[in-house]
Point group: C2
């Protein structure tokens, strides 16, 4: 019935331990889960047996019995993106501190893969889901529905959208974008290029909304040149080329992430346009490299690790008490001014030069 101690490499079971210690499996189990209810003498015998056999409980068995997995599923659009990597790091850290393991899904922005991973929830491979994309997979939506009126163990990171019916953690993207624009306007810019992300995502739309609102307040909405990007360096380069070759070129560019900002800087350099003297560039996220490129990027800093940690906290709360819907959490951002922004060149400085 049970396996050999170590010969053959087979792992020992709780039965083997119980036999060796001369107790029942119940006692062994209790030694591991609630040691204080077991007599010290017995406990020591059991612990010794556990050590002798180098026993470790089989978690599939435990998961089956307890109907929990001790795992959190995290889906990320692209791990190789430093922004997501940092959030993921925060998630991993918080999860493991809470005794949970992380199941990683890199969806590569692919809806099929998102669905496939969401299925894992149904199969009870994970106790909850944190998704960083902007789509709520069908399988997850179904879960939300069937669990209602209790809260499903699903949390979003970054992409808040109230109609998803799922709580999330994010910054105030509209406000952050407005602040970035404020900074540029305060320096004296009026004609500003905006390199957005894919406009499907609420995140990009919020930023664009904030950008537009600020421009409108400045009566400079017509001076906005909006170019859609995809968050890659390359799309930043392309956008930069387009902006710089325009007849009436902008004196500043606001990019919806740092990588595209790096791309714009690169495009500027290729055309011998100096940053920030001739072109100011603002990024978003404040990834690690932002402060180490030349010139260091002015950008909106997001608390990536904290976003990750908070999603975990939120998910754990739901797991603990699904009756209570957590309220979406908005974390603070900061405008970090560095060397990539400056007043526009004199010749373009129309007002009050």
């Amino acid at each position: 019935m049970m396996c050999a101690p170590f010969p053959g490499g087979t792992v020992s079971t709780i039965y083997a331990v119980a036999k060796r210690a001369g107790v029942s499996t119940a006692t062994v189990s209790r030694v591991l889960s609630r040691p204080q209810v077991v007599t010290p003498t017995t406990r020591d015998r059991v612990l010794q047996a556990i050590e002798d056999l180098s026993y470790a409980p089989n978690s599939a068995a435990r998961n089956l019995r307890t109907l929990k997995s001790g795992k959190l599923l995290v889906t990320v659009p692209d791990i190789s993106n430093p922004f997501f990597a940092l959030i993921l790091q925060g998630i991993e850290d918080a999860a493991q501190r809470a005794g949970y393991a992380v199941l990683l899904g890199d969806t590569q922005h692919n809806a099929k893969r998102e669905e496939r991973y969401a299925q894992m929830l149904k199969h009870k491979e994970a106790d909850g889901l944190i998704f960083l994309g902007h789509r709520l997979p069908k399988a997850a939506a179904e879960l939300v529905r069937t669990l209602s009126p209790r809260c499903a163990p699903i949390v979003n990171g970054c992409e808040f959208s109230p109609h998803l019916g799922v709580p999330g953690v994010h910054i105030d993207n509209a406000k952050a974008a407005a602040e970035a624009m404020d900074h540029l306007y305060a320096l004296g810019h009026r004609r500003v290029g905006v390199v957005t992300g894919p406009l499907l995502s609420p995140l990009s739309r919020d930023r664009l909304r904030g950008t537009r609102a600020r421009a409108a307040a400045q009566h400079a909405e017509d001076e906005l040149i909006i170019i859609p990007g995809d968050f890659s360096i390359e799309s930043g380069v392309t956008a930069g080329e387009e902006l710089l070759s325009a007849a009436n070129r902008p004196t500043a560019v606001f990019c919806f992430n740092d990588e595209m900002a790096m791309g714009v800087v690169e495009a500027a350099r290729a055309r011998d346009v100096r940053v920030p003297e001739e072109l100011s560039v603002v990024g978003f996220d404040d990834i690690r490299f932002a402060s180490h490129v030349n010139p260091p990027l002015t950008t909106i800093a997001q608390p990536m690790r904290e976003i990750g940690e908070s999603t975990v906290r939120m998910l754990l709360m739901i797991l603990e008490n699904p009756e209570i819907y957590p309220v979406p959490l908005t974390l603070p951002h900061t405008l970090v001014v560095r060397g990539s922004t400056a007043p526009p060149p004199e010749r373009h400085f129309a007002v009050g030069g």
Copy 2:
């Protein structure tokens, strides 16, 4: 005994499906695993029942019965490092194509965490382990021992070291480093700074070995200035400052990763030392940003994704047939020459100037 179909959000079991379809659980199971052995009529009835109840097999139960988890554990020293992130992406992709899920462990270079994750193997939470650090956790080493003479399902990425007794996938670090030095020597440099990684890791030692060998061949071993770094941008900055303030400053610096190279470039800029005119800089890895910084980095490109994919293939082979020890795999690297290297300034060009 069984759960309600959907009311209450409880999930249905194979018993519920069997009952609804009027068959035994065995048949339901077979419909899912080997559909062709079931009569089409029955099969359709079962499939219908599965759909009606939106049934999904509980994987804890399956894992328990089959003694497999369908998961691969991957431990990474630091996910926020783009180098590891890309390898991880390769791993994730290959794993999921093979029907495996990835359990992620970010060890933060911390031995305790490495141990903790390795425990998961003992608990059968994963079928195998891919570790990207340089230490083989004790628990894993133990497994290697108890499984011997069969091969343990453990594979290393990047840090090959034959005495671990574990196969791995990596590049020829010594040779790559030698090529980097070759490039510098060919340009006419003699006095070269070397910013290494932590010398505990075989990877760093191999690169250092290659570096030294090449220098020796050039009779320039005394012209090597070796400074230990830790792979962070900051340590690159520090090393750069040290090298540039030396009495007899080097005309070139070889860094064991791109981030430290970026740090050195930054330090040079801070002192108004032009790169590459006054100082050549070579990196290692060719992370995405390497080609987009100013100047674009000359570096050794590693096939990150392929390394990740290969570790998975190797692990799957072991899982399939533990009798066969895979041979460690060496993948090709490439020296990519970009704008950060050039001949040394004339005044330092001793030979044949």
